[in-house]
Amino acid sequence: MIDLEWVKDYIDISDQDLKELAVKITKAGINIEKVITNHIDNLVIGEVLECEMHPDSDHLHVCQVDVGNQNLQIVCGAFNVRKGLKVIVALPGAVLPGNFEIKKSKIRGVESNGMLCALYELGLEEKNDETYSKGIYEVSSKAKVGMDAMKCLNLDDTLYELDIHKHRNNDCYYHIGFAYEIGAILNRPVVLPDDKTSPIKDNINDHFSLKVETDKCPYYLAKMVTGVKIGESPEFIKRRLTAYGMRSINNVVDISNYVMLEYGQPLHFFDKDVLGDKILVRDAADGEEIVTLDGKIRILSNDDIVITDGKKPVCLAGVMGGENTEVTADTKSILIESAIFDGVSIRNTANRLDLRSEASIRYGKGLSYEYTLKAIERACHLLEKYAGATVLSGTVMHDKINKKVKKVDFKSFEINKLLGIVISDEDVKVELNRLGFPFEYNNGEFEVIIPPRRLDIDPYVNDIAEEVGRLYGYHNLKSTLPNEAIKKGEYASDIKYRKIISKRLRSLGLNEVKSYTLVSPSMADSFKYEDKKQIVLPKPMSIDKSVIRTSLISSLFKVYEYNHDHKVSDVLIYEISKTYDANYNEESKIAILMSGNYMSNQWHALNIPVDFYLVKGIVQNVLDYLGFNNRYTFEKAEISDLHPGICAKIMLDGKMIGIIGKVHPSFCKDDVFVAELSLEALMGKVKPIKFKEALKYPEIIKDMAFTCEKNITSDIVMNAIKKAGGRLLTNVRLFDVYEGDNVGVNEKSLAYSLTFSSPSKTLNESEVMEVFNNIIYKVEKELGVKLRNK
């Protein structure tokens, strides 16, 4: 949050329309999410002409108030309202914070045409016992009746709510930094605030010793003031802190916050008399304790940094002060700390303790040393001025910070090339001056020094190009296209396969779904058909997203359940996604789930319900499409959570590539069928397509049926027929499976239709019969099955 009334202290923007300025700033790279003004219409200065008690109340007053163009009768309950007082009047139509609209009304029978206001009612002060007890705001007698009250009292304010990326936060999230940003945009100078003091001869170094024993604190400065008088803050400090959303505590505490919001540098004030004469900065010991300002006991770890008095911690560095050395109403002397701590360490501490303070946020984002000293001097100045402090001379200092100047050498054409623009050396000079970046220019070569406050800028020409570019205005960039491509783009082969299969499945009427990679342990355990160890996240967000799946089936099942619960009766879905096992092997899988009807027309009594063979057909269709016909088989299998009798492994060239089956009735009582295939396994080589001429000579079709034991599968019989059939047998098709009265109890009958043909001649009956009989003979002999008599 940036308070524009405050920014005006450092840069002249009195001529600016603050809404337009916000647009300019946003275009230049700092996103202003919201422009907030506190202005309230229909708020004027009035003077109380008459003030009498309400006839029907012991505390209400009936006032006649001059508001400039008229006199109004207003009922007021404040104890301090009196004749002759100048007041803030909310006229009918004014809308006060909390969307409270002032209307003409009757209060206990007496007409009231407005309201006399306290500052807290206008959102300019916090509402508490203290502000409440002050009653209505007493306007100076010099104020002109009828004037806009906020303007007259200088209470008008505009706030910018910023949304700044993590990367560039600190240099413009305080008022002086923000003033520099405006300075660059408007090409105007920034004036830093007064930090002069009149120190006494007494030197802090004679009273105080500092030792830093951790490299997480490269810079530590301390100054001392005495004779502090704790009291109320001046109005402007109170108002600015309130606008920012901070509570005013007292003049001393407010100053430490005020300076932090000015310079971005967090300060910490110790009660010097309690603290003693020594400061030791070190890593905390594991298990060490400190009671922070909020009264809570914090247990520290070795990663934390603590400020100690030589023995015990007095401050959790960069996060929050200790209760033991807190500034109180009795405080007389103060030790002011201004330091740089390691951002990562502060961030980790704040996260671990769940203690995000204004200070820890600033340190956590990385802080420049540029204002560490300035801030402490400014604080001394304000303490001297507003808390009656006496400033000791000298500064206690530990200085190991890297102050190496960041420089960039470049020529203008490099910037032009990166941005695709044409600007001259002279233009670059203008931009650098606006940015406040010192530079040297020699014969077309620039050497720029990056101000330390701009921690976000690295010494690369790209960084300078960005700064120049955003002032040049990205909206002024042309739209060009990169040089013509030298080849057309294409899909990587695994993606191509995924797309091909995806399209095929969709054309077969299946819907693509997208589910989560992270699943619950119970989902991860379901439908496990592979001997794969799974990755379990060490720190999951929740147990239901804690395992990286190795199969997609349980995710599809979840989608099925959702749709089933929402009365979608036909669920035909698939997903193609990557899976990972504990050895970090990646495998893309194609999973299919089908339930309900594949095709239907109820009034027409047409119904093709999904069953095992339909899903098998889908799988075969995909495999054939990919060119694998005659290379795959289905082998009976038993897989957990699938029906033990309706379940198979899918084999390609003798290797298992997936599974297919019906979901186990104890898992789901509805008929749900699933299949899963490895995509990688399907990326193998296939034969090129070759034209095959249709037969010219007639085919002879003959049927045969065998009775066999139930456990003999169709494939076994089919393969035996094919083997025995030889060249003339060109097709075998199963057309009937029968179990029942006409065969034995443990038997079934399988009927096949055999096609015989030759590419070179018309076959005669006797030729065919010879082969036909031979098949029967061989199959009976090989499998122990019997030809079924008609």
Binding site: K27, H167, G364, Y460, E466, P482, G489, E490, Y516, P540
Partner: protein, 346 residues
């Protein structure tokens, strides 16, 4: 004449015939073995050779004529029967069709493919990278060293210590691709895919989401080229009247960095709730590949430059199709999928 009399009677008889049965009776009466016409042949025996010839010719003629008459009548009756049959077979063509199931794509895949097809035509390859990724590629080489605020441990799903993670962005594919290019090959690619961050799932957050990321590395590539490329993509997705805008932004792996906005699809730039009254919606981030990243991946930033961009697939789809809850993409309600099973306007 006797023969003419026979034909005359035949015609008369045929007039009363209604069924094929009656017709065959009539046929037998005239043309059967003992039929009126057939029996005329027996009279030939009484005639001399000369008369036989002419009489035989006459009988043949009558026979043919009679056959034709009967055949015509047959055809007539058959047509009538067929027409009656067809009339009975007439159906109510307004009864419901047999339902052929729809096969809709995932909304996200559809969105991604839309961008892929365009960029392939502009010479970009579509490539892929692992979702279980090394910290090195996901962060380190992208100018996000350990301790960088932007990689706050809270945001990332770590798998093993601090070295393996579920990628929090698709950018590691950039690194892998550049390393393969060995500092010599120009690169044009997009790498759409899944990414993961520690966010609680709600209407605007998802712990799993999809990015569409692109990278172009070549000699003489500029930010203006990114602007032009973005224009083409935006217009392809949202129509020719879609306006675009670049705003400065900050990403660790690009410098300069930009945010890319399109004019609000909903209010056409006039200002509404969706664009928070700005008239624009941010749809992508990007910029010029940071020289440190180029260097890390073996490309000399003095010779090469590149731009990179990243879209959120969910965000694009939400804007394009008016979806206002991220969870829609992962709930897979088939009642909602259905409408996506068709071609689009262009």
């Amino acid at each position: 004449m006797e023969m003419e009399e026979i034909l005359k009677n035949l015609k008369k008889d045929l007039e009363t015939v209604l069924t094929l049965q009656q017709l065959s009776e009539v046929k037998a009466h005239y043309l059967g073995k003992k039929g009126l016409i057939t029996s005329l042949y027996s009279k030939m025996r009484e005639l001399d050779d000369e008369s036989k010839k002419s009489f035989g010719g006459l009988i043949n003629k009558v026979k043919m004529e009679a056959s034709d008459l009967i055949d015509n009548k047959k055809e007539l009756i058959e047509t009538k029967i067929l027409n009656e049959k067809l009339k009975n077979e007439s159906i109510d063509i307004t009864l419901p069709a047999t339902e052929i199931k729809f096969g809709a794509p995932s909304i996200l895949e559809k969105m991604i493919e839309d961008v892929e097809e365009l960029l392939i035509s502009m010479g970009f390859d579509v490539i892929d990278g692992p979702e279980v990724e090394e910290d090195k590629y996901n962060f380190e080489m992208l100018n996000l060293p350990k301790g960088h605020p932007a990689r706050d441990a809270q945001d990332t799903f770590y798998i093993e210590g601090e070295e393996l993670l579920l990628r929090s962005q698709t950018s590691p594919v950039q690194v892998r691709c550049m390393l393969l290019g060995k500092g010599k090959k120009p690169i044009r690619m997009i790498c759409p895919g899944k990414t993961y961050r520690r966010d609680d799932d709600d209407a605007t957050h998802s712990h799993q989401f999809m990015q569409i990321e692109g990278l172009l590395v070549d000699k003489n590539v500029s930010l203006s080229d990114l602007k032009g490329t973005f224009d083409v993509i935006a217009k392809h997705l949202f129509g020719e009247d879609c306006e675009t805008r670049f705003r400065p932004s900050y990403y660790p792996f690009t410098e300069p960095s930009v945010e890319m906005d399109i004019s609000c699809h909903h209010c056409k730039g006039k200002g509404c709730n969706i664009c928070k009254n700005t008239g624009y919606i941010t749809v992508a981030g990007g910029g010029m590949v940071h020289p440190k990243v180029l260097e890390n991946c073996g490309y000399d930033p003095k010779k090469w430059s590149g731009f990179a961009f990243g879209f959120g697939a969910e965000r694009l789809a939400m804007i394009k199709y008016g979806i206002n809850d991220l969870r829609v993409f992962y709930t897979n309600d088939l009642r909602e999928s259905k409408v996506f099973d068709r071609k689009e306007a262009n």
